[in-house]
């Protein structure tokens, strides 16, 4: 490797960690970013001439820190000279952890907790996490979420302004706050995963890059914060991910779980997911993600759809409904009940749930109802519900799937 390649490798692999530490040392996200880039630029120029320093990592952190202090001296509008010197002195005061080991894992946790702070809007949390923690460019985030680059850029700028102006602290939440704050981090990661696994709009069934990013982020989080709910989420995502290939056919059409070729499920991911969910449940992690992962693991365990232990699945849904009493969880439970006790029992539950306005606007509620009606041979009712579902979804593969089901019903009844 030549020097340039080494610098590029350092940037790829370590720039987020360096960045996280610089935010703590410099107290400002933008300043940390700019100073880090200064340091990398300087490395590109100096290292080929003077050789690579013994500790390239520490060199980059301390160079960036001094660059940051220079920037403050040059650019910051401060009211008095005293104050300026004071700020610069406070920042340049070398703390022991900087000289010994420049990167504290806690800095990376601080970074993710600040990006997922609940005082920021959900959209902003997602964009900021992808940008600052994962290091994606604004263009990449915009592409992934099918938004325009200026929209994402503005979202990130606003979020950073709020962090600065409202003084959102760069710290790991205290033990008492941790569960709620961690929930918000996990929610952001799961949103990113789901946008990659079943995009809310667009032509593809899945967008693997986003899901990969979410999984990578969770693995990293699990190393820093080994608690059952994090391994529960990782298990859930790995188990979903194991079915990615089987979820769409060669023509890009959606294949429902019961019709998937189980031979195409990724055994490696399934095994790891199942192991993690057992571990999570065994260590008392009966949180929402671990429970959903447990349900997914039962599917992974079944040789066919009919071979599935629906009784156990309904049992896990009963627990999940208690923890997360939302209509969507109730809907999933109803589908599991239909598989265990027959379509008629499920239909009664779903019809009850469809009284709720929230579910009336949710295409999968109508699709689930249509499916049960179809299995009962109530073709007219099924067609009406498929049409409702079709009217409510923008995702093209799902639309084709629903249209196919309708065509099949129409041709069978004529």
């Amino acid at each position: 490797m030549n020097v340039q390649e080494i610098v590029e490798k350092l940037y790829r692999e370590d720039s987020r960690r360096i960045f996280a530490t610089l935010i703590r040392l410099l107290g400002d996200i933008d300043l940390a970013e700019e100073s880090m880039h200064d340091a990398f630029k300087l490395a590109m120029k100096q290292w080929p001439l003077e050789g690579i320093p013994d500790k390239p990592f520490a060199w980059l952190v301390s160079t960036a820190r001094f660059r940051g202090i220079d920037r403050i001296r040059r650019e910051r509008r401060v009211t008095s000279l005293d104050q300026l010197e004071e700020t610069a002195a406070a920042i340049s005061d070398p703390s022991p952890e900087v000289s010994m080991d420049p990167v504290v894992p806690d800095d990376q946790l601080r970074l993710i907790f600040i990006c997922c702070h609940p005082a920021l809007s959900s959209d902003a949390q997602v964009a900021l996490t992808m940008r600052e923690v994962c290091g994606l460019t604004t263009e990449e985030i915009a592409n992934a979420f099918l938004a325009s680059t200026p929209t994402i850029a503005q979202r990130i700028v606003r979020a950073k302004a709020k962090i600065r102006d409202a003084k959102i602290p760069y710290q790991i939440p205290s033990q008492s706050e941790l569960p709620a704050r961690l929930a918000s981090v996990l929610r952001v990661i799961y949103l990113v995963f789901n946008e990659g696994y079943s995009p809310s709009s667009g032509a593809l069934v899945t967008r693997g890059d986003l899901s990969q990013e979410a999984i990578r982020l969770t693995r990293w989080l699990l190393q820093l914060l080994p608690v059952p709910e994090v391994s529960g989420l990782l298990a859930l995502m790995l188990l979903h991910e194991s079915r990615r290939e089987a979820r769409s056919d060669d023509a890009g059409n959606l294949v429902p779980l019961d019709e998937q070729d189980r031979g195409r499920w990724n055994v490696e991911l399934m095994t790891e997911g199942t192991f993690l969910v057992r571990q999570s449940l065994a260590s008392g992690g009966v949180g929402p993600y671990a429970l959903q992962a447990a349900i997914s693991a039962i599917h992974a365990d079944a040789k066919s759809a009919s071979d599935t232990d629906w009784n156990q699945i309904v049992g896990f849904y009963d627990l999940l409904v208690q923890l997360v009493p939302t209509p969507i969880v109730e809907l999933n439970r109803a589908v599991a009940v239909a598989m265990r006790d027959g379509p008629l029992s499920g239909l009664a539950l779903i019809d009850n749930l469809l009284e709720l306005e929230e579910l009336q606007r949710y295409h999968l509620a109508h699709a689930a109802r249509a499916d049960l009606c179809r299995r009962l041979g109530h073709n007219d009712e099924a067609l009406v519900s498929y049409q409702h579902a079709l009217d409510l979804t923008q995702q093209e593969p799902e639309r084709r799937f629903l249209q196919n089901r309708m065509d099949q019903l129409l041709s069978s009844s004529s």
Binding site: A119, K167, I168, P169, Q171, E177
Partner: protein
């Protein structure tokens, strides 16, 4: 850093929160050293909105915007950061009936 915690209540809940609760909280936050000032407001019917346009003062009866929840009072508090401000805002008794907006105080740029 100073934060203004604005207490919003809907008309239905305007009198739901007992004054004694608010008084007890005010004493507690005063003792903690985080309080700068706090006041409860008269109902919105007593509000007058003042605007100056082209040098002319114009008055409107009522609050600036007729929203479902109206400004009912405020606390001006001191906190090290937003997390601490949110902690104290969540303890304000009417938070149970309405909502509290937490706004950082801006230093004038002079």
């Amino acid at each position: 850093m100073n934060y203004l915690c604005l207490v919003y209540l809907s008309k239905d809940n305007w009198s739901s929160c007992p004054d004694s609760d608010c008084f007890a909280f005010a004493q507690k936050i005063q003792e903690s050293g985080h309080m700068i000032a706090a006041q409860a407001l008269q109902p919105i019917e007593s509000a007058t909105t003042v605007r100056v346009r082209n040098g002319q003062v114009s008055l409107t009866d009522g609050p600036f915007a007729e929203t479902k929840e109206q400004l009912a009072g405020f606390y001006l508090i001191e906190a090290v950061d937003l997390n601490e401000a949110i902690y104290w805002a969540s303890k304000i008794p009417p938070a149970k009936y309405g909502s509290i907006e937490v706004r950082p105080i801006r230093q004038l740029n002079v």
